[in-house]
Symmetry: C2
Subunit: 233 residues, 2 copies
């Protein structure tokens, strides 16, 4: 794989970086490729590296002692992940990063980023903006989980996932494709595979989505938004 510094500018944190800085980070990077289902890192591992996804898709998940797991976030190309370790030296990853498809990522030592932060205000702001975004998303999702019913939560989740990892279908701009299994959606919305399956089946009957194997196709985003907003109970 050929990477040039300008590619790095697609990473939100590096948007305002100088060419020299990009070159510097790239020179520190190792390319890691993992197969579908494999892990970039596990919850609890020392956070030695942070990553930038170059190709493929991955998810960040957390699991409890009983093995029950929840999806925290889906990672797309040119997104940074595992960067919390750069803030506190000696930290461990608070979540697991697993590839949803064969994926490649740049791995750079957290300590390197930590040093760089000391002299580059733009990096600080970029990273903080990322963090505030996560905080707000997690707060919202927490509230949804605590206060909304499943159907609405699933609608909110599918819409969120669509905006994060959805691909608009060539030919029809309104249709969005999601490469996610029922289980994935269940873990992202805090419910079970069975319930997701039933809800999607009902939506399919109403013509809102098309539900395939490890795939959800949104036919009518507006209808989903109505459910998400509780206008269509």
């Amino acid at each position: 794989m050929h990477l040039n510094p300008a590619d790095l500018r697609r990473v939100s944190v590096f948007r305002e970086a100088t060419d020299e800085d990009l070159q510097l980070f790239l020179s520190q990077a190792i390319l890691r490729t993992v197969e579908e289902g494999e892990f970039f890192f596990l919850q609890g591992d020392p956070a030695v590296f942070f990553y930038i996804l170059v190709s493929g898709r991955a998810k960040l998940l957390q699991s409890n002692a009983a093995g029950h797991q929840v999806n925290l976030r889906t990672i797309n190309e040119w997104q940074m992940f595992g960067a919390l370790g750069a803030v506190k030296p000696g930290a461990v990853y608070p979540a697991t990063a697993q590839a949803l498809e064969p994926s490649t990522a740049l791995a750079i030592e957290s300590a390197f980023l930590h040093e760089a932060l000391k002299t580059r205000p733009y990096l600080n702001f970029g990273l903080m903006q990322l963090m505030t975004g996560y905080i707000q998303e997690m707060q919202e999702r927490y509230r949804e989980l605590a206060t909304e019913r499943v159907e609405r939560r699933i609608a909110l989740t599918v819409l969120r996932l669509a905006s994060q990892v959805g691909k608009r279908l060539a030919g029809d701009e309104m249709m969005i494709e999601l490469p996610l299994s029922r289980q994935d959606v269940a873990e992202a919305s805090g419910t079970t595979m069975f319930t997701v399956s039933r809800v999607l089946a009902e939506w399919e009957r109403r013509g809102l989505v098309e539900a395939g194997r490890e795939r959800v196709l949104i036919r009518n985003p507006h209808g989903l938004v109505q459910i998400a907003e509780g206008l269509n109970p």
Copy 2:
């Protein structure tokens, strides 16, 4: 109220600040006092100020369209809150801050912090450490809400609240007092007042806690930890 710069050093973000910086921030601060139940700011307001609680207690909460609300975090003396707005100029508060008791806070313009961040790496690190802490706590709580049963969630919540706002009882170091109503605990653990009341009554029968009006006294923290860890089903 008399405040001197050294007091500000009790704020985690200012731990490594110079005396001049503390003086500078203090000179920018306005003192705001609010009564119990009143608000420092509301969800959706422009985030013009960030706050440092000087005395009293407050909570950060979010509510949905139907008015159903969840507690995101409890704020203690010398904690900073409402600071997300300093990162993105023009942002709004993503949550509401409400006083649990008569409280006083320093209010400083977000824009001032924003400027200060550009030239003071220690502030950046401090703020980022705070943020990573929130992210991790929210991720944990989200997972708990998605995967754990109520009793366990309530135990985890009570323990978390104890570590954040609990007061050790003079005389018996093991006993911790929480000045929170059933409703508060319900909103912090994602359940209803009724369920919290029933669970606390059962714990009281077992001698784990003493439940009073707007008050929970933990008699046996270790027993609660067992429930929280699922060892005592």
